[in-house]
């Protein structure tokens, strides 16, 4: 062993040491990122005796049965609210944001650079500021808080992310392709749907998912503007004062699994495409 180390070139030793360090560091980073998620998943199988799901009491699958999972009417309603808002936010913010991204990349118009800059404001400002500002706006306008204000707020903060995501795709778009479509007899409308749209579709999908997740997740802005329209994060935050039921862990686990499965599938698909394009 000593002899082997002596024979090794100095660079090889640093190389190996770095490899060892990087290895440990990577594992620590992954553990740090996933510890809360793993904790959440594990405690979804806990069978607590009291109100608090904080110490391990025994394994059970009973909270995965629909009758137990959906036993709290308020929780069910919060889930419905959150999914409704997230779906509508993803839909509307993606449509509006995609149109903005297209306009920003292909036209020069008055206020273009100002718009480009202002789009970063919702991303850069603290949520608590946005939430409070929106609330004072709605109060000034005498606009009743509820479903509509929550939806408006969510679309407002999601649009910027949609624009940035879609723009990454439209900026690299070859304008000649639309000329070519027109040359072959496609009207601008047909050219958009047969050429432009399919090519920027992956960007639009990514943006819609991002908007959906951002909306599903939002607590601070919704807290200011909900007017009694309780979403899942609001309900969980409220419940945590009395003890979070195991159902929340189970729901969290299920949502996480959907995301994980989606990620894995898309990785496999892109890998498959890369392989097929090599051959």
């Amino acid at each position: 062993m000593v002899k082997a180390a002596q024979e090794m070139k100095p660079e090889a030793i640093t190389e190996r040491r770095r490899g060892w360090f990087l290895n440990i560091y990577t594992k620590l980073a992954i553990a740090y990122l996933f510890a809360p998620v793993i904790f959440m998943i594990v405690f979804g199988f806990n069978d607590p005796q009291g109100r608090f799901n904080l110490s391990w009491q025994g394994f059970t699958l009973k909270y995965y049965s629909p009758s137990r999972l959906f036993e709290f009417e308020e929780l069910n309603q919060a889930i419905t609210h959150s999914l409704t808002i997230a779906f509508l936010t993803a839909l509307l913010a993606t449509i509006l944001g995609t149109l903005i991204a297209l306009a920003l990349t292909r036209f020069t118009f008055k206020g273009r650079s100002a718009l480009n800059l202002l789009l970063f404001v919702p991303m850069a400002s603290p949520e608590v500021v946005l939430g409070a500002a929106l609330l004072s706006l709605f109060v000034t306008l005498n606009f009743a808080r509820g479903f509509t204000t929550v939806l408006i707020a969510h679309i407002m903060f999601s649009i910027s992310y949609v624009v940035v995501t879609v723009k990454a795709r439209t900026a690299g778009f070859d304008q000649n392709l639309e000329d070519a479509a027109g040359d072959l007899g496609a009207s601008p409308w047909v050219a958009f749907w047969t050429v432009t749209f399919p090519l920027i579709w992956p960007g639009i999908m990514a943006a819609a998912l991002l908007a959906f997740v951002l909306s599903l997740d939002d607590y601070v802005i919704t807290l200011f503007n909900n007017g009694g329209y309780i979403t899942l994060p609001l309900w969980i935050a409220g419940a945590s004062r009395l003890g979070v039921p195991v159902q929340v862990n189970v729901l969290g686990t299920l949502i996480f699994m959907i995301g994980a499965v989606y990620a894995i599938v898309s990785i496999i698909r892109t890998r498959g495409e890369r392989v097929s394009s090599i051959h």
Binding site: D183, A186, T194
Partner: protein, 374 residues
């Protein structure tokens, strides 16, 4: 198949005039090239015929119809783009069939025509490939097939071979010419490569600064350039300043600034000019040592050497098939001479020697002294 006719077409972008009041007649089934340096307006003119740009003023006729103002998708014209602009999300056959699908051609017919077209461009059986699986040369052919399958009246080609390497380029030039004669469609081809234009075209329209300098068959343009720009853009030219002295019958006498008087066919003289530049191509010149008087005093029996000037050899370069001499006349004009190396007896003339350069009046042309920039 249809003819193209431009009438007073102008295109300006803000205060820049890209195309300046041009007229053009392209005959049915013709292969016509727009040749010119970058920024001369050739691509803009092509894009106006294609419908991607609208003229600021003027008329564009495809066959009988004035299409100025109509968008590209309403014109019976197809384009092969410089970047090919193939649709990356569609397979080769879907790319080629795209135009037919827009015209609502039936599935079976589309399939048949796409296959025929892929065969024509030498890509049979490639229909299912993805675009990114094709090489540059193959993509070029797909772009050509995608345009031709629509049986357009006119096919526009915007420097389509620009991205290919030299060998493939030469091959595609011949291929394009073959395909054009096979389908018989009018081709308008944009290029800045004079050799490419010469190889393929029935006629060449030389463009400069937004207007046509000369339109004609490759031989006419090369042998008898109408302007100084054409003379220097296509091949090498020797231009000598002179003043018109007199004309008799078919020949006009021009007194050159270097001293001698030469004959120029009158029909190659610019109209109404007193001061002209007389031109002759380097390979048309005969070079003889000043001592040798074999050619006589400028009126040999066979007509050779009827025009002559004296000059001094500055540089002589042996190239193999030929020797190139760079000479200078007494007034400082540069004259380049190419002499073919026909036998091993030919003694290259050394630098510094005084020589006599002579040529046939039939090979002489003249351009206006102030016309065209260099």
């Amino acid at each position: 198949m249809s003819s193209v006719h431009l009438e007073g077409v102008t295109k300006s972008f803000k205060d820049m005039v890209a195309v300046d009041n041009i007229d053009l007649d392209v005959r049915e089934g013709e292969f016509l090239s727009f040749l010119g340096p970058s920024g001369c307006g050739k691509t803009t003119t092509l894009r106006m015929i294609g419908g991607f740009e609208q003229p600021t003023s003027g008329k564009i006729f495809l066959g009988e119809d004035n299409v100025a103002g109509l968008p590209a998708y309403k014109r019976n014209v197809n384009t092969v783009f410089q970047s090919y602009a193939l649709f990356p999300h569609l397979a080769v056959a879907e790319n080629v069939g795209y135009g037919l699908k827009r015209k609502k051609v039936g599935k079976d017919e589309t399939k048949k025509r796409v296959e025929e077209m892929l065969e024509l461009v030498d890509l049979p059986g490639y229909g299912d490939r993805r675009i990114n699986q094709m090489s540059g040369g193959q993509q070029q052919r797909v772009a050509l097939a995608r345009a031709l399958v629509n049986r357009p009246g006119v096919l526009l080609l915007d420097e389509p071979l620009g991205a290919l390497d030299l060998k493939l380029r030469k091959q595609m030039q011949l291929e394009l010419k073959r395909i054009q004669s096979e389908v018989g469609i009018t081709f308008i081809y944009v290029t800045h490569d004079q050799e490419e234009a010469m190889t393929m075209s029935d006629r060449i329209a030389v463009m400069n600064a937004g207007h046509f300098e000369q339109i004609g068959a490759p031989q006419d343009i090369y042998e008898f350039p109408a302007t100084e720009f054409v003379a220097s853009f296509l091949g090498a030219s020797n231009l000598l300043d002179g003043d018109v002295e007199s004309g008799d019958g078919g020949m006009t006498r021009v007194k050159l600034a270097v001293g001698s008087t030469v004959s120029v066919p009158t029909n190659r003289m610019p109209a109404g000019a007193g001061h002209v530049r007389v031109g002759v191509r380097p390979e048309k010149l005969h070079i003889t040592g000043a001592g040798a008087t074999g050619d006589g005093g400028g009126t040999s029996a066979n007509g050779h050497g009827a025009n002559a000037v004296e000059a001094q050899v500055m540089v002589s370069t042996y190239i193999g098939v030929s020797t190139s001499y760079e000479c200078r006349t007494s007034d400082g004009s540069k004259i380049v001479v190419y002499v073919q190396n026909l036998g091993n007896s030919a003694q290259p003339i050394g630098a510094g020697a005084t020589v006599r350069l002579s040529w046939d009046p039939e090979h002489t042309f003249a351009v206006g002294a102030n016309g065209g920039g260099k």
